[in-house]
Structure formats: structure tokens, C-alpha cells
């Protein structure tokens, strides 16, 4: 009951936020929040650390960007295509990655992502170092003009809510329970008769698909698809967002994404602009050493202890 009220308040805040804050900033937060939530589904609930998740963000971004630039299609078709491409890539990469466990899984995903990075760098349709610029936002369903930032914001909010609710539903489903069981004790899950690798693969594909959704949406928001989206640094960034916010919590990645994006915006206009990577490295180390449950995780611990 209490949670429902809280959710309604947050939704209300999200609806009026663009009147108080810069809509493009909010859209950036929402895109990264969705990306981090998708990543958290894999790390926080299935216990799989993918260190190449940017590849799915970037694939969604490139496919949507390319189709929107080349053909006169509506944005929802562009997004669907981008999401489909990410899902397919997620299936292929997932099948390979689940063959190894633990830190090998992280290394395999990182290497596979680098493979895709070089592909996008050389492929003729990605614009190489320049990326795809001036991606048109188009008209949603053919009649809602997305060039208005406020309209675009509500569209992005709807996309985010769709992704977020899907993740919430997944976590609380029987499938989600099995995922958590695998995270906690894989041999036991196997002995109970679960085909662990298939569950892992499904979690991987779902996570890749939603990461692709974030990427496709991001391409429309910034009207740009570039190598930044597929770079290993982006993969590290989403790990940090999830870790800082609290992995394995529903709201953690959202809070983490909001914090990191705000921090980057703040740093960009401060004398520390050149130190963004250094600052993120420091935050990484502090998180790991002192703050492993993340903001939401620590808050939950505090509430449990004191109330």
C-alpha cells in the first residue's frame, strides 16, 4: 500500500519534471536509467556481470539511427527494428557467453563487445568516427511530432515506464525467482532440475533487448548514433550506475543513472571537466570498498535496522 503511494508520487513528479528541469537532461537520465535497469536485471538478479553491455545500447542506437536517416519510417518502426537487432545480437552473444562463468563471463562479453566495436568502426553504414548525425525524430504513429522536446519527453517517459514495469514483472515472476536461485546457488538450481544455461540465456536476451530499447530511444533523443555508445567505457559506466545505485534493487539503477548523469553534467561545466574518468574511477573504488550495497541497498539496510 505504502509502495503504491510512493510510486504514484514519483510518477506525478516525473510528469511535472520537464517544467522545472531541462527536458533533454531528463530524457538522458531516463535513457540511461532504462539501460541500467536492463543491465541490473542481468547482474543484480541473475548474478551475471556482462562487461560489454554497451554493444546492445549501441546496436539499438545504430540500427534505429540508420533506418530513420535512410528511409522515411515512423519512429516506432525504427525503435522496433533497433530493439529487434539488439535482441538478435543478445541471443548470439548470450549463447556464447553463458558457456563460461564468473569472471570469464565478464571477459567474454567484453571481448565480444570489442568485436562489435571494430565492426561498427569499419562498417560503411555507421559513419565511422563521425557517427550518424542529424537522425530525424519523425512523427510517432505518423501524427505526433516528436521534434517538440516536451512531447519527446513524455514519449521517452512512456518507453521507460514500459521497460521498468516489464522488468518489475519479470523479477516477480516464477522465471525471476529461478534467476535469483541461480544467482544464490547455481549447483543447487541445477540439482533441482533447472536448465540453468537456458535461464541465463533468456535473462541475457531480455536484458540485451531492453538495453537496445534504451539505445534506440537515445538515438532519437540526441539525434545521434556514435561510437561512444558501443565503447567499453560505456559498458563500465552502466556497471558503475548500477553499483552506485544498488544492484539487485528495483530503484537502484534509476537512482544511480540519475546521479552519474547529473555528476557528469556538473563536472562538464566545472574546472574538473578533464577529470571525469578519474572521478568515475574514484567513485568506483569508493563504492566497492565502502558502499557495496549501493544507495538504495544501504537505505534499505538503514530502514530495516531502525524501524
Amino acid at each position: 500500500m505504502k509502495n503504491k503511494k510512493l510510486n504514484l508520487v514519483l510518477l506525478g513528479l516525473a510528469l511535472v519534471a520537464p517544467f522545472a528541469l531541462y527536458p533533454v537532461f531528463l530524457m538522458k537520465v531516463l535513457c540511461f536509467a532504462l539501460f541500467a535497469c536492463a543491465f541490473n536485471l542481468l547482474l543484480g538478479y541473475a548474478g551475471l556481470l556482462s562487461f560489454g553491455h554497451a554493444v546492445f545500447l549501441g546496436t539499438g542506437s545504430y540500427v534505429t539511427g540508420y533506418l530513420m536517416l535512410t528511409y522515411s519510417i515512423t519512429p516506432e518502426i525504427g525503435i522496433l527494428a533497433g530493439v529487434g537487432a539488439s535482441a538478435l545480437l543478445g541471443l548470439v552473444y548470450g549463447k556464447l557467453a553463458v558457456k563460461r562463468e564468473g569472471i570469464y563471463f565478464a571477459m567474454v562479453t567484453l571481448a565480444l563487445a570489442q568485436l562489435a566495436f571494430f565492426f561498427y568502426l569499419q562498417a560503411p553504414f555507421t559513419g565511422g568516427e563521425d557517427g550518424l548525425q542529424g537522425v530525424p525524430r519523425g512523427e510517432l504513429f505518423g501524427f505526433i511530432d516528436l521534434n517538440n522536446n516536451l512531447t519527446m519527453y513524455y514519449f521517452v517517459l512512456a518507453v521507460f515506464l514500459f521497460g521498468f514495469l516489464l522488468i518489475q514483472r519479470t523479477i516477480h515472476s516464477p522465471f525471476g525467482q529461478v534467476m535469483k536461485a541461480i544467482r544464490e546457488n547455481e549447483p543447487r538450481a541445477i540439482s533441482l532440475g533447472y536448465k540453468v544455461n537456458q535461464y541465463k540465456l533468456l535473462a541475457f536476451v531480455l536484458s540485451a533487448t531492453l538495453a537496445g530499447l534504451a539505445g534506440s530511444t537515445k538515438a532519437l533523443v540526441f539525434q545521434l548514433s556514435s561510437l561512444t555508445d558501443v565503447h567499453w567505457f560505456m559498458s563500465g559506466e552502466v556497471v558503475l550506475m548500477t553499483l552506485l545505485g544498488g544492484m539487485g534493487t528495483l530503484w537502484g539503477p534509476v537512482l544511480g543513472a540519475g546521479t552519474i548523469v547529473s555528476m557528469q553534467n556538473f563536472l562538464a561545466s566545472s574546472p574538473l571537466a578533464n577529470y571525469i574518468h578519474v572521478v568515475m574511477g574514484v567513485v568506483f573504488i569508493l563504492c566497492v570498498l565502502t558502499f557495496r550495497n549501493g544507495m538504495v541497498g544501504e537505505l534499505q539496510k538503514l530502514i530495516r535496522k531502525n524501524f
Binding site: L49, L96, K99, R100, G102, I103, Y104, A106, M107, V108, L110, A111, L112, Q114, L115, F118, F119, Q122, W232, G236, V239, L243, N274, Y275, I276, H277, V278, V279, M280, G281, V282, V283, F284, I285, C287, V288, L289, R292
Partner: protein, 295 residues
């Protein structure tokens, strides 16, 4: 022009040489990763950054302190190893008992800081480092011209790999190390100072990365990004070879360098991706890695 079956032998041997050199670096780095993994069970994500630090150590030593190449070859690995020991004692040790994913993230943070600092100080364009006077010449072989420095890299780094392999597989110290890999608690019960061995192992592993950095300074340009690029390739190599065997890590590193060199000759477009493709192939056919022993 010497050609056989339409293959330009000069170009082919040239790329083979480049492949052997890259392979020497892959071998040195994969060896360091494997040693650290064996005892600490962590993947050292800052390995690439410490390799970069080694190259910068040589560059800064030459330009600011008057330390020449030969001294750098001795002093820089020690300095990088000492930094590694400091990092292990202050940052990695406190979370040794947590999930190993945390130490991966921790070392990733260290890599971000190092790379960020050097990018800020020196920009991302590379800096040249002169080949030492003694190795400036070259030898004319039947099918190619072999610059002395390149021959030196291959001979020296393979000797370092061989000595390291010998120490680990054949000496008493190596026996301690292997025992620590199998069962650290039991070894501690026998009165051996395991934490000390862990610290020294980490220092030695990253010292090898520093050494590779010094060796690399004259052939690649010294730049802040040199570490992250090579590290991801070395990760793929480690997946291909499996980290269970020291010799396996060295061999796989060298072999992948050669494969990359051959690809540069026959199909240059794929030269950046071929090692990742080999990794995919290995995952499909022998998921535990070529020398892997894990269940």
C-alpha cells in the same frame, strides 16, 4: 621481388615479424594475468593501465631524469611492481573475501583513474621514444630486413617468459606458489606466510606488465590509451588459452600474435577482430579453453 604462389614474401615475413612482436607482448601480459589469477583468483583489470604506466615510466625517465633505456628496463618494472604491492595492500586486500566480481570492478576503477590522469597530463596523442643506440641497426635476412630492436623484443620477452615458467614449474618457490593456488589454507597451516606470497605475486605480475610497457615504448607510440586497447585483446587470449596453465598462457599469446600478423597480410580488414573470432570459435568447440582445466 620474391613471390611464391603470388605471395609477396617480403610483406608476409614483415607481417609475421610484427605478429611475433605483438605476440611477445600478449604473452608477457597474459602470463602476468595468469599468475595473479592463480593465487588471488582475481582478474586484474588495471593490468593494461600498469603496462601503459611502464611505457610512460620509460618516457618520463628518459626525458626528465636522464634514465636511459637499459636502466628503465630494470627500474621501471620494480617501480610498477612496488605500486602494485601498494595497491594490493591498501585496496585489493580489504575485499579479498568478497565476491571476486568486486575486485574486478575495483581494479577497473584503478585503470580509469590512471588512464584519466595520463590523458589529462599528456593528451591522447602518442609520444615517440627513441630506440636505444645499441639496437639501432638491423640484419638483412634472405627474405626480410630484421631490425635489431625487434629481434631484441622477441628474444628478451620470450626469455623472461621462459624464466618465469621455469621458476613457477621447477623451483621450490614455484612449488609454494602452485600449492597456494591449490589450497591456501593448508599451506598457511604448514607455516608459510600466504598473505606475503599473495602480495609479492601481485607485485611480480604487474611488474611484468611494467616491463612489457618499457619494451613497447620504442615500437608503439607511448599513449594513455595503449593499455586499454591491448588489455581487451589479452582478455580474449586468456579466454582462448584458459588460465589454468602458465605455459598455455604464454603459447596462446604468442600464437595469437602470429595469427593476427598473418591476417594483416591476407585480409587486413579483419586484423583487429581475428583474435575475438578465434575466441568465438574456441567457445563453440572447447568452451573451457585450449589449456583449460576447469569443470
Amino acid at each position: 621481388m620474391a613471390t611464391i604462389f603470388g605471395i609477396n614474401l617480403f610483406a608476409l615475413f614483415g607481417q609475421l615479424l610484427v605478429g611475433l612482436i605483438n605476440g611477445s607482448f600478449y604473452a608477457l601480459l597474459a602470463l602476468g594475468l595468469a599468475i595473479i589469477f592463480g593465487l588471488l583468483k582475481i582478474i586484474n583489470f588495471s593490468h593494461g593501465a600498469l603496462y601503459m604506466l611502464g611505457a610512460f615510466g620509460a618516457y618520463l625517465g628518459l626525458n626528465y631524469l636522464g634514465i636511459d633505456y637499459w636502466w628503465a628496463l630494470v627500474l621501471v618494472p620494480i617501480a610498477v611492481g612496488a605500486l602494485g604491492i601498494l595497491l594490493e595492500r591498501t585496496l585489493i586486500r580489504p575485499i579479498a573475501n568478497e565476491d571476486h566480481l568486486y575486485s574486478l570492478l575495483l581494479t577497473f576503477g584503478i585503470a580509469l583513474i590512471l588512464q584519466g590522469l595520463f590523458t589529462h597530463w599528456f593528451g591522447s596523442s602518442g609520444m615517440p621514444y627513441a630506440i636505444p643506440e645499441e639496437l639501432k641497426g638491423g640484419t638483412r635476412l634472405p627474405f626480410m630486413y630484421l631490425p635489431d630492436y625487434r629481434a631484441w623484443i622477441i628474444v628478451f620477452s620470450l626469455s623472461v617468459c621462459a624464466v618465469t615458467w621455469y621458476i613457477i614449474e621447477k623451483t621450490k618457490l614455484g612449488a609454494y606458489l602452485r600449492a597456494g593456488t591449490e589450497n591456501p589454507q593448508l599451506m598457511q597451516a604448514f607455516g608459510i606466510n600466504v598473505p606475503l606470497i599473495v602480495t609479492l605475486t601481485y607485485g611480480f605480475g604487474v611488474g611484468l606488465a611494467g616491463l612489457a610497457g618499457v619494451l613497447a615504448a620504442p615500437v608503439y607510440s607511448v599513449s594513455p590509451e595503449m593499455g586499454s586497447n591491448i588489455l581487451i585483446v589479452v582478455f580474449a587470449i586468456v579466454v582462448i588459452g584458459g588460465m589454468g596453465s602458465i605455459g598455455g598462457a604464454i603459447l596462446t599469446g604468442l600464437a595469437m600474435g602470429v595469427v593476427e600478423g598473418l591476417t594483416k597480410y591476407f585480409y587486413p580488414e579483419a586484423s583487429t577482430t581475428v583474435i575475438f573470432l578465434v575466441m568465438v570459435l574456441v567457445l563453440l568447440t572447447k568452451p573451457a579453453g585450449l589449456f583449460g582445466k576447469e569443470a
